[in-house]
Amino acid sequence: MASKNERNPGMPLQLDWVMRAHVNRSAVERRVASLPARRSIKKDWQAAWLLRAVTCIDLTTLAGDDTPGRVRRLCAKAKQPLRQDMLAALGADGQPITVGAVCVYPSRVKDAVEALRGSNIPVASVATGFPDGQTPLAQRIAEIEQAIEAGAREIDVVIHRPYVLTGDWQALYDEVRAFRETCGDAAHMKTILAVGNLATLKQVYQASLTAMMAGSDFIKTSTGKESVNATLEAGLVMVRAIREYYERTGYKVGFKPAGGITKAKQTLAWQALMKEELGVEWLMPDLFRIGASSLLTDLERQLYHYITGHYAARHHMPMG
């Protein structure tokens, strides 16, 4: 299959493909248990990988108390995620090191767009009844339209989980397809499966395939609001679905783990997973994003330790 670099256009739902999925949980668990231990990333390599991780962050605030001021502060951090002196020490001054995107609620998109004006950092908006997706479809679609109208270039949609739990793949497909058509050329679409709400890893795989067939640009693990968020197990299943989709169609779909990723060490495990199961291309921000709010501080601290050999104080890292 020839590799295509254009967006995934999706395809008609192939139910037989979805239904044939086999995912063995214990085999998945063993793989994710040994993978980080098989790929220890140290020293210069670790610094490079963490620097790369910074550029893959969807710096996120999704809270009831988000204000325009809070969003502005986050955007400032997004533009300058690392201290200038640290960038210089890494030999990366002058490089366009920014986070991958800033991710906010629809009501805050305008604030973010303004704050990021002049940078190339896209604003991502959650939509479609985030986080639970339990509002009427017309409203969910309207949210996408409004977010794009406000300037969002990436839309993180949530799926309607009952379709997965009841095995109604056609309904799931139709809805995500509708989201994708609403995004059109104006915005890339990341489809949140909310794996913590799904019953089995097999459903995670099936939902991943359906979301990709419906034209998702990315598939994303979680909203960050479920009680179980981005697990390596679910992530492994999703990236294997991405691989199979790519092998069959030639289209590369991105992956975004989100929720509960707060430490550099976790990031390295996710990166190793991407590199091992998909390849280096899937380590770059056009195919890999990490949804996180506090992770950046830990990446900064680890890079500081690499540069100076000293363990860093949290309060020395500028707040986002």
Partner: protein, 818 residues
């Protein structure tokens, strides 16, 4: 290093573990080690030394002593002396010592792991995450058995001084598998590590000494295979435990034959890795990685034979080749690699020769385009496809990172291909259909079966083989019996001197068919008191449920103690044995096969046999009197006990199925006591009926089919008995009876390669030959060494020892979780 460049390429870099502590330890010993005897380092005068190398770098790490006879004697004497007190030390005290050892292993975890990686070439990740944690686990687990021995194993005693010889692929783990159960059960040990990998055992010795174990309980001897032979042949060693190649296992079987030493062998394998179309293929791919590229494939239970269902084979092999391209081979101390170095150049060359053979045999070779370090003994992960089952590379153990692949069409064909091997160590079955997976698992001839997983180990689950993969188990309750003997039994010391090596030609088992014998058979008295000739009644052989004439048409006279001829039986020959073995196999392949019937059914048949025997109590008693000249009361007693024994095994027919093992797996690990298959049984002369029943009943109760050779002196009880069998619903071929010269018939049985076990209750000389000849196909043996047991007593004549001999344990690991 340019961070920005790495930021673009996102390459992996080295993540080396520091060897500093290992070097410091080696330097503490000035890089030269003595022998560990009585908790002290012993350096022989004018010692010869042998170098240890790091196979990844070629660096010489240290040198160790080549022990000679004097040192072996010294170590065995130390172990013998320690045995006196250690075997009498209460189990609860021994438990504390084992617990202390386990704790101390954990305290020195990293040093042990780093040394293991450097000495063996295995990835530090594996040594650290698998080998050393399992080492500690084994001592914890067996600390528990030491604690419980006096209550749970009260009918048993320790064996004595145990000689243990271990391989180089898992130096510490194999050491644990050997030492922990041995000392837990009150034995003392002399252990010899493999020549390539001697160092971690010596570090372990210090860990043990630091933990305060009494001197002499564990002795570590380094040396060549000559030292191994000295241990194996040492008269004061009571048991040998060995892990290694099947060829060496055969040598050990022969060296210990007839000596009364217990023996357990964990040998080679060519284990199947079966992938069904409904498996999680991506999961199974990682299973393959764990199966054949774990420890560079130098694993006795490596899943080295890939069997893939034909309709998913293309997809699976494409995925596999892609996966192989992601494997990283390099410095074992690098924590970002999958495979380290091959242990030694000789082994590297063997592997390479096998790969070339595979190509010559028409195999399609695939090795990924991945870099290897420029120096050191590294070998690429290798796949050879399109081979036929007849190819040598499919049949023989390679012991390296080489996978051969075949396809199958149906579950039945998968099972047939999987079992088409001389080995039977392990198997892996991948399917998301639990009915299919468990059905296949139940039909595989292998000691460990992993469903949707592979190479899982735990101290609570016995590991060991079927067929030529050896006998005995290591781990679990089942493994303890390798280090125990019944409390009533002394170490057999047979009074038979085996012939010197190379002089195996002997007259044992040779037999010239019988001729007519005078005087004539005794007469009987008619109703009017006149003497009448008896109605001639010549028993036949009993094969496949039919009475058949002996193939050779020769007849043997049966005499009473006065020398009078009281009857005749067929004088069996090789062909009778051949036919009986065929019939015994047919009883397994019948539908339902004997082993596949449920225990309830087998128990019903045993009860029925007992019922019918009891109905003919007087007749059987009189026959015993006629043959042995014993009193009628004594003969009646023998019949009654025989009936009772049938009841005993009717009881055991549905109560010895196995157990759930409490391993670390989330899921179910089940130990199943499976029948061994076809057992040839040579019965003792004492107690012509009871001896026969006591051996037949446990064997068939547990699903074996048998070829019985009755007492040579008193065969008529057995031949009378086939009429009982005929009236008791015993399916054809389950019990076959061949009369004649016991040793002559035994010789054919022991040399028959389709017989799975032979029990021999005869002379010391016969016991020697049975054990010696069994090495050809590694069949299990159980012999009496010419010693008698009290068949009348329940302690000696029935029970767990018999059930143990009639079964082999299969552990099926089934992970759970959706």
């Amino acid at each position: 290093m340019d961070i920005l460049e790495l930021y673009k390429t996102m390459d992996y870099g080295p993540a080396p573990e520091s060897p500093a502590a290992v070097y410091a330890w080696l330097d503490d010993h000035e890089r030269r080690f003595g022998l560990f005897i009585n908790n002290r380092w012993v350096t022989p005068e004018n010692a010869e030394y042998y170098p240890s190398y790091n196979p990844a770098t070629g660096e010489k790490l240290a040198e160790t002593v080549q022990a000679g006879q004097k040192e072996v004697d010294q170590a065995v004497a130390a172990a013998r002396q320690a045995f006196e007190s250690w075997s009498k030390t209460p189990g609860q005290v021994r438990a504390r010592y084992l617990y202390a050892i386990a704790r101390n292993i954990q305290k020195h975890n990293r040093l042990l792991a780093v040394l293991e990686a450097m000495d063996n070439g295995k990835p530090l990740r594996e040594a650290r995450d698998i080998d050393v944690p399992l080492l500690a686990r084994h001592f914890y687990y067996h600390a528990g058995w030491a604690q419980l021995m006096e209550t749970e194993l009260r009918d048993y005693q320790p064996v004595g001084v145990v000689g243990q010889i271990i391989p180089w692929n898992f130096p510490l783990l194999m050491l644990a598998w050997k030492i922990a159960p041995a000392i837990a059960m009150g034995n003392t040990v002399v252990l010899k590590p493999a020549s390539y990998t001697r160092l971690s055992a010596l570090l372990f010795a210090e860990v043990v000494a630091e933990a305060g174990l009494p001197p002499g309980v564990i002795n570590i001897i380094t040396g060549s295979s000559k030292a191994g032979t000295m241990i194996v042949t040492h008269p004061d060693v009571d048991k040998i435990a060995f892990t290694g190649s099947t060829d060496v296992g055969r040598v050990l079987r022969r060296q210990t034959a007839g000596t009364g030493k217990k023996l357990s062998l964990e040998l080679g394998g060519k284990s199947p890795f079966i992938v069904f179309e409904d498996a999680d293929l991506d999961g199974a791919i990682e299973g393959v990685v764990d199966a054949i590229w774990f420890n560079q494939g130098q694993v006795c239970c490596a899943g080295s034979r890939l069997l893939v269902q034909e309709n998913v084979a293309d997809v699976f092999l494409r995925k596999l080749k892609a996966r192989m391209g992601k494997l990283r081979v390099g410095d074992p101390l690098d924590k970002a690699i999958d495979m380290g170095a091959i242990v030694d150049r000789t082994q590297w060359e063997t592997i390479d020769r096998w790969v070339q053979t595979g190509v010559k045999e028409g195999g399609e070779l695939f090795q990924p385009d991945i870099p290897l370090p420029e120096k050191g003994l590294f070998y690429k992960p290798t796949l050879i496809c399109n081979l036929d089952p007849a190819a040598e590379t499919v049949q023989e153990e390679i012991f390296g990172p080489v996978l051969v692949s075949l396809t199958f069409r149906s579950p039945a064909e998968a099972i047939a291909l999987a079992n088409n091997t001389r080995y039977g160590l392990a198997a892996s079955v991948w399917s998301d259909n639990i009915n299919l997976a468990l059905d296949v698992a139940s039909k595989l001839k292998a000691g460990s079966v992993w469903i949707n997983s592979t190479n899982l180990f735990d101290a609570a689950s016995g590991f060991g083989g079927y067929r030529e993969s050896g006998f005995g188990r290591e781990g679990g309750r089942e493994g303890l019996f390798e280090y125990l003997r019944p409390a009533w039994q002394e170490r057999p010391r047979p009074d038979f001197q085996p012939p010197a090596d190379g002089q195996q030609k002997s007259a044992w088992g040779e037999h010239v068919p019988a001729r007519p014998s005078m005087p004539a058979a005794t007469k009987t008295n008619g109703r009017d008191g006149r003497e009448l000739p008896r109605v001639d009644r010549t028993p036949k052989m009993y094969i496949g449920g039919k009475q058949v004439r002996p193939d050779g048409n020769y007849t043997l006279a049966v005499r009473n103690p006065k020398g009078e001829v009281i009857g005749q039986v067929g004088d069996g020959n090789r062909k009778d044995i051949r036919d009986a073995v065929e019939a015994a196999h047919a009883a397994h392949t019948a539908s339902p096969g004997w082993a596949m019937r449920h225990g309830y059914n087998r128990s019903q048949i045993l009860y029925f046999i007992a019922e019918n025997l009891d109905a003919r109590r007087e007749e059987f008693a009189r026959r015993i009197v006629a043959q042995t000249g014993r009193s009628l009361a004594s003969a009646q007693n023998e019949v009654d006990i025989s009936v009772g024994r049938l009841f005993t095994y009717a009881a055991w027919a549905d109560k010895y199925g196995g157990s759930v093992q409490e391993t670390t797996l989330r899921g179910v690990t089940v130990a199943i006591n499976e029948p061994i298959g076809v057992i040839g049984i040579a019965c003792p002369d004492e107690y012509p009926l009871l001896g026969f029943i006591s051996l037949m009943a446990p064997a068939i109760a547990r699903g074996n089919t048998v070829v019985m050779i009755p007492s040579e002196k008193h065969p008529l009880s057995a031949t009378d008995f086939y009429q009982v069998l005929d009236t008791s619903d015993v399916p054809a071929g389950v019990v076959n009876i061949i009369t004649g010269d016991r040793d002559h018939l035994t010789k054919t049985l022991i040399q028959h390669e389709d017989v799975d076990a032979v029990w021999y209750f005869g002379s010391a000389q016969g016991s020697y030959y049975v054990e010696y000849e069994s090495a050809a196909n590694m069949k299990r043996t159980w012999v009496s060494y010419g010693l008698k047991r009290d068949w009348l007593s329940a302690e000696q004549g029935e029970g767990h020892e018999f059930l143990h001999e009639a079964t082999q344990v299969k552990n099926i690991w089934t992970p759970t979780g959706e």
